[in-house]
């Protein structure tokens, strides 16, 4: 019986069928569901690790003890884990070790659009790239076999349209690995990467790549050639192959299941069998550059196909129809111009605790060094309350560094903001630096009790494991004091005035400080009963009092809108319209009522 699974679920299934024993991940779109799914299989130990570097190191330890292990992350996560990866490439593995990296072409949920295929050549480890759920499962399984056979970590590259696409597959049974469990002290020269041993392993890495290249050409079952109409041959991989096959099904294809090392003989044969070759790949010209370097003439590639953003069947068709079919691409009829329609960017949820906090920061006129999480949505107007954001933890160091240039001039003007999960991911190091090297910046930890943006994953601060079992809970205040922060305050962000007072005091202090939000769980986190603390189920606008000043619109709440219409208040103030609260969307957080200067926002009645 065929099942339909999401790509991420299929990777988890493949790992389970391959007999994996340990799975580690830090959540990140589009990779998060892999570990969430794997955690449902009882035979496997799984965890949310504090960050991706830790995930890879834990999984490698498990592999050295003889267990098959998997570590999963989004593309930027592999930057964090690059340090262990580059040397695990030298030490090799014992139990099969697979690292899944999920790219996000088009940047649906990411701060950059890096092409993770570069890691495979750079790290000198093989990489596989599935196109759909069936391949996600099969490639994961073969990745474990390759890992053990060639003594190497294996990268499995997914991306948004593979990870978050559902397609059909056949399920298999679990088969345990035959690798013996246990640690062997005699392996020291292979595993302790001091220079004298690492130089030896350096050679082994190059020898391994030669063997893997031969394997890619002769044994690996997922590099495949389809010779149809030989006038044009496409070389492609992953979902780009599916798009091209969809648009130009009658031509010939070389589909690469292994990104690197490339099957040189197969490529040579393909060039002999077809007349002209077009390389279709998303993002960078990885294959194109390699194939050109082998001395072949690539007819078309990135000269026609965009290197920025994700591909789609439409983009493949638009880019290549002229070259392939000799006729111009005919666009479908335009009935309206979508650019004339109001855009709908994502927004903080109604009742979210980040909204009043960022409103407070805006009112204080602070330059906010931000971070990665839902709160990055505070950058959107009219809240417009974030001014710099690069990667996880970066805001803490950024605010501190800016203070080093501005000196006393910067006092009262700068702060760093990050979430509970990102603080644990990589905010502690820069906080230590701020204290150790005498910075004065204020770090705000927005503790909403969960990794929210990626879909409610646990972390060391929530008190729960990935399987919802009890766990030690980090105490942020004690942690901050332990690294030497003397001024640690807690605020309830739903009390706007009090929160502003505390922040004002701390940002003006010539010493490092930390402010932690409390009573501020994610509005979607059911177990924290986030709505119970609100006194009223929803609020409404009292039209007798509303003067149409639009202050309530400044917080960009999805429940509040402007209603045009001239009129006046009961006491005779003329107005051009009023605020309006949609009671289906309002959850009663009361923030708008607190900032209204005319007491025009009142508890709603049914």
């Amino acid at each position: 019986m065929k099942k339909i699974l999401q790509g991420n679920e299929a990777i988890a299934r493949g790992a389970w069928e391959a007999g994996v024993t340990v799975g580690c991940a830090y959540p990140g779109t589009p990779s998060s569901e892999i570990m969430a799914e794997l955690s449902k299989y009882k035979e496997i130990y799984t965890e949310w690790s504090p960050n991706e570097k830790v995930a890879v190191e834990v999984a490698h330890g498990a592999s050295l003890a003889g267990g098959r292990a998997i570590a999963c992350m989004k593309h930027v996560g592999l930057n964090v884990a690059a340090d262990p990866l580059m040397t695990i490439a030298y030490t090799g593995v014992k139990g099969g070790f697979v690292i899944v990296v999920a790219d996000d072409p088009g940047q649906h949920s990411s701060q950059n659009e890096q092409d993770s295929r570069h890691w495979t050549r750079f790290g000198k480890v093989p990489m596989l790239e599935p196109a759909d759920s069936e391949e996600c499962k099969n490639f994961t399984k073969i990745a474990f076999e390759m890992s053990e056979r060639f003594d190497t970590p294996v990268l499995l590259r997914s991306e948004t349209r593979v990870s978050h696409c559902d397609s059909t597959l056949k399920l298999g049974e679990r088969k345990e690995s035959t690798v013996q469990r246990g640690l062997d002290q005699k392996e020291t020269p292979k595993l302790v990467m001091v220079p004298m041993y690492a130089r030896v392993r350096r050679v082994a890495v190059e020898e391994r790549i030669v063997k893997l290249a031969a394997y890619a050409d002769t044994e690996f079952p997922y590099n495949s050639m389809e010779i149809n109409d030989p006038s044009i041959g496409f070389i492609s991989s992953g979902v780009s192959y599916l798009y091209t096959k969809e648009v130009f099904p009658r031509y010939s294809f070389l589909k690469l299941g292994m990104v690197w090392p490339l099957p040189r003989n197969m490529i040579a044969e393909f060039f002999k069998k077809v007349k002209k070759v077009i390389v279709v790949e998303e993002l960078d010209p990885f294959f194109e550059t390699e194939i050109k370097a082998m001395g072949y003439k690539v007819w078309h590639g990135k000269d026609l196909i965009p290197a920025i953003g994700e591909l789609s069947p439409s983009i493949v068709e638009q880019s290549l129809t002229k070259a392939v079919e000799g006729k111009s691409y005919k666009a479908p009829k335009v009935r309206i111009k979508p650019e004339d329609l109001p855009r709908r960017p994502p927004n903080l949820c109604a009742g979210c605790s980040h909204r009043p906090l960022f409103y407070a920061l805006k009112k204080l006129g602070l330059y906010v060094f931000g971070d990665i999480g839902c709160y990055a949505l505070s950058v959107a107007p009219p809240l417009s309350a974030m001014h710099a954001s690069t990667c996880m933890g970066a805001g803490v160091g950024g605010a501190y560094g800016a203070g080093k240039v501005l000196g006393k001039e910067g006092l009262g003007k700068i702060c760093a903001v990050l979430g509970d999960s990102t603080f644990l991911h990589s905010g502690i190091g820069p906080l230590m630096d701020t204290v150790y090297n005498k910075g004065y910046s204020t770090t705000l930890i927005l503790d909403n009790r969960i990794t929210a943006m990626t879909g409610q994953q646990e972390h060391p601060g929530t008190g729960y494991t990935i399987q919802s079992g009890p766990a030690t809970m980090i105490d942020y205040e004690q942690l901050a004091r332990a690294v030497g922060v003397k001024h640690v305050k807690k605020v309830d962000p739903y009390k706007v005035k009090e929160t502003m007072e505390v922040i004002r005091e701390e940002v003006n202090r010539d010493d490092a400080s930390v402010i932690i939000t409390e009573n501020s769980p994610c509005i979607l986190l059911r177990r924290a009963k986030p709505l119970e603390k609100f006194k009223n189920p929803f609020y409404g606008v009292d039209n007798d009092k509303c003067r149409g000043c639009k202050v309530c619109l400044e917080i960009n709440c999805p429940a509040i809108s402007w209603q045009e219409g001239e009129g006046q208040t009961k006491d005779g103030h003329k107005r051009k319209g009023t605020g309006f609260i949609n009671k289906d969307q309002c959850v009663g957080c009361e923030v708008c009522a607190q900032i209204c200067k005319f007491e025009a926002i009142v508890p709603g009645t049914k």
């Binding site: 798009y243 789609s312 439409s314």
Partner: protein
Amino acid sequence: MKENGKVKNIFLSGVGGQGTILASNILAEVFLKAGYDVKKSEVHGMAQRGGDVTTHFRFGKKVYSPLIKYGDVDYLISFEMLEAARYINWVKPEGKIIINKQEILPPTVSLGQMEYPKDIEKMFKKYFKDNVWIVNGQEIARKLGNIQAANVVLVGAFSNFFPEFKEEQWTDAIKKLLTAKLHELNIKAFHEGRKALQG
């Protein structure tokens, strides 16, 4: 499986939180059980926070691309008026369209900077004539006791396009995907939606 297994394209659009993913999961269950190859693609994560969300859903004998080609949509199911308008160019001239009669204001409209487009219904009827159905999913769901079920009302309306599927094929899928305490509400929502197009 009918129509020689030629691949058909369903495009779902709405606003994050409206339940497009559940709706597309119900479709997947039904078409898969009926013997079709199915692929569907959607975006999770940041975009879901009140932003516009879409699902590409394709079925047929053998489906390659998980994404639909621009202009190739056979069925558009929209959970919100503006989010229907945004994808009008994607629909084939003979395509069929179901729209939930709900307006969720995007920020620029809430702030009074832009107007919510009027005459969306009229525009669809101009191009697609009798192949457009506006369903008041939210009101139907509200009467049943939970506005969250509007997505299943729309699935019920859509089910009319596939007379070869029995009602149980849809309700079985709903039962499989939802916890028991939600069965009654959502099966009612499905039936009301199914009736909405017939009456």
